[in-house]
Subunit: 417 residues, 2 copies
Amino acid sequence: MIKTKTKLFISLLLPLFVMSCQQLNDTTTASSASMATVQTGLRATGDLGLVIERATGQVKVVNHSNKDSLAEIDGLGDLSHASIVYSRDQRFGYVFGRDGGLTKVDLLKSKIDKRVIQSGNSIGGAISQDGKFVAVSNYTPGGVKIFASDTLELVADIPATELVNHPRNKDGSIKRSKVVGLVDAPGQKFVFSLFDSHEIWIADLSKPEIELTKYTDIGLNPYDALISPDGRYYIAGLFGENGMALLDLWSPEQGVKRILDGYGKGEKKLPVYKMPHLEGWAMAGNFAYVPAVGLHQVLIIDTQTWQQVGAIDVHGQPVFVMAQPDNRQVWVNFAFPLNDTIQVIDTKNQSLIKTLTPGPGVLHMEFTPRGEHVWMSVRDSNEIQIYNSQNFELLKKLPAQSPSGIFFTNRAHQIGL
Amino acid sequence: MIKTKTKLFISLLLPLFVMSCQQLNDTTTASSASMATVQTGLRATGDLGLVIERATGQVKVVNHSNKDSLAEIDGLGDLSHASIVYSRDQRFGYVFGRDGGLTKVDLLKSKIDKRVIQSGNSIGGAISQDGKFVAVSNYTPGGVKIFASDTLELVADIPATELVNHPRNKDGSIKRSKVVGLVDAPGQKFVFSLFDSHEIWIADLSKPEIELTKYTDIGLNPYDALISPDGRYYIAGLFGENGMALLDLWSPEQGVKRILDGYGKGEKKLPVYKMPHLEGWAMAGNFAYVPAVGLHQVLIIDTQTWQQVGAIDVHGQPVFVMAQPDNRQVWVNFAFPLNDTIQVIDTKNQSLIKTLTPGPGVLHMEFTPRGEHVWMSVRDSNEIQIYNSQNFELLKKLPAQSPSGIFFTNRAHQIGL
């Protein structure tokens, strides 16, 4: 739609202006070179991320605009099942290691800012709504520890329920319940589940004194949990029985309800480490897309009634079931030995539309903030693969040492992530 | 209703390239001074924002973690009705001025990076899903111009429909329809409405050639529009008749439907500048909270059926009706002369829970990304007020020159913002 006259007129002027722009660029690069330190520091944080490199105890700093790797940071300890949350300004990532290590990584300086070993054995954490507190859920000693997000000083220790009838710890102390499924919730709250004592607790940090609300007998052995993207529903999976435990945080006085009584029913018991990840639930519109237990199915749940309304047959036992930011697609990866494959569900027709085979050990996926690309960890081929979510084209591969979790900084602004 | 498809080739038009070079020249010479700012320390971009200072043609760079003001940037021209979108990395804000000015502001250097005058009279814009393109909707000449987000070079010009029966422009050229309600949509699309020719157009930039889809006879004089937070529904308000025009972007072949036939019915016609802002729609769960036209009410719409299911009496004619990120609260401001007041609706009970009187001329509100605070422009007392959304405590006041729009950088990661 160019008018020919304009085109001709311009092409005459073009060389002159190109020259002036060229000169301008030269002077600019010259001046910036003389301030190299400043220039390397001059990095925005909205399109960054960290990738867990489990085998080497490293994290890789990545940029999802340029689809490249900026730096490697090591010394993070045991990163199996590691997860990450981000500071409010998206400058710092808090890496929760399996060995109880809590590491604060600086994405602007590409180095570790602080690191503490806060327990013997931990399983994930969360950051408070206002970004001031980082909470870690621990197996041993069982409980939740809360740290100041800037200094990593311990500001609160919430020991879990004592297990009086259990054998004591080696040091003679009484065992406490393992804590799992720790998430942040609106109103400056943390919510978590106690595996051995069958409880859900809410820690309210909105006032100077932390207020604890405890729900007991919520169902046998909650092993993991999730919070809906709007922060309203906390849902714990039960290892000891069928169904799930639901807490409506808008009506906490109503207590914990049992939902999805059929969930897991009749299935051969899986070892707990083979139970589906619940953070992998995709909530799209009025439906939740849920990995079945021990079945090659993704279940469709109506989030108004919390009843199962459908099931989609898939390639294997689903592990992560992740919704595209616009909820149009749900991407699914699978448990060993079928973990070389990804399948994509169209939520409009609630049917499979694509099968990809990225390679051995597809452990995790992460959408870019507006969902145009998907990053994928392919552990056993030591690479990250980046796909276009619209036409499924493989856009780029990045080398990585046994990559697992991929976490982009936009999580800083999302409830429950 | 006719639906036609036409194709446009992305092309480089140079007059703007020339202007941006000259502008680049100016700002670069100025920039060495502001390098001092850069050297003082690293700055992340996740908790920053820009506040429009209409009277002085300035924007204020703010930080919502520290609740403070970092810098003032001037030279942005006429900022009445100005709006802002952000680059993918959250480093740059694109300010759409009323005078046709498009200004790219660098939040790390606190200075103008580039500025072009791209039309005589414009009304907002959007940034593409992948962050590569910035689109501006123009009144004169009527149409949409699309720029490369990095260089602000014009890459496509989409003139609006010619108005053959209207008086010509001063220069003798044929008038074209004003373009309003421009938003970005998933799949690398822009969607916008043509006020004078009663159309909705979709521009698809996912391939090298732009594909235009045009919906005609969608209703008289669409004056503004919105897109649902998931990017599925595009809804245009009609100035020339009652009701609204709905396009389901998941089923574009179904065309534009009429919804809410009662909307605006029986009300005394308002001048167009007094019609409620549609970006002010709050979508919470299955309900949309919508400013009534010429009534002191917020209407409750069921987004499954698009029928009105309720109404909440409020203090005045609502202007912006904004949902908290967790959808628990909806905050409402009002048209002159009742614009000194804010009311808060609890979406659980769908009832008013709080009335605040911040002062004269409360023009705009912005929630922090996870919703713990609300920032408010109080134009006529020349200040920004910051509230705790949980207990409604006034936390801080910041001086500002006739502040209007407040835009935080987390918008970079949200569809339609």
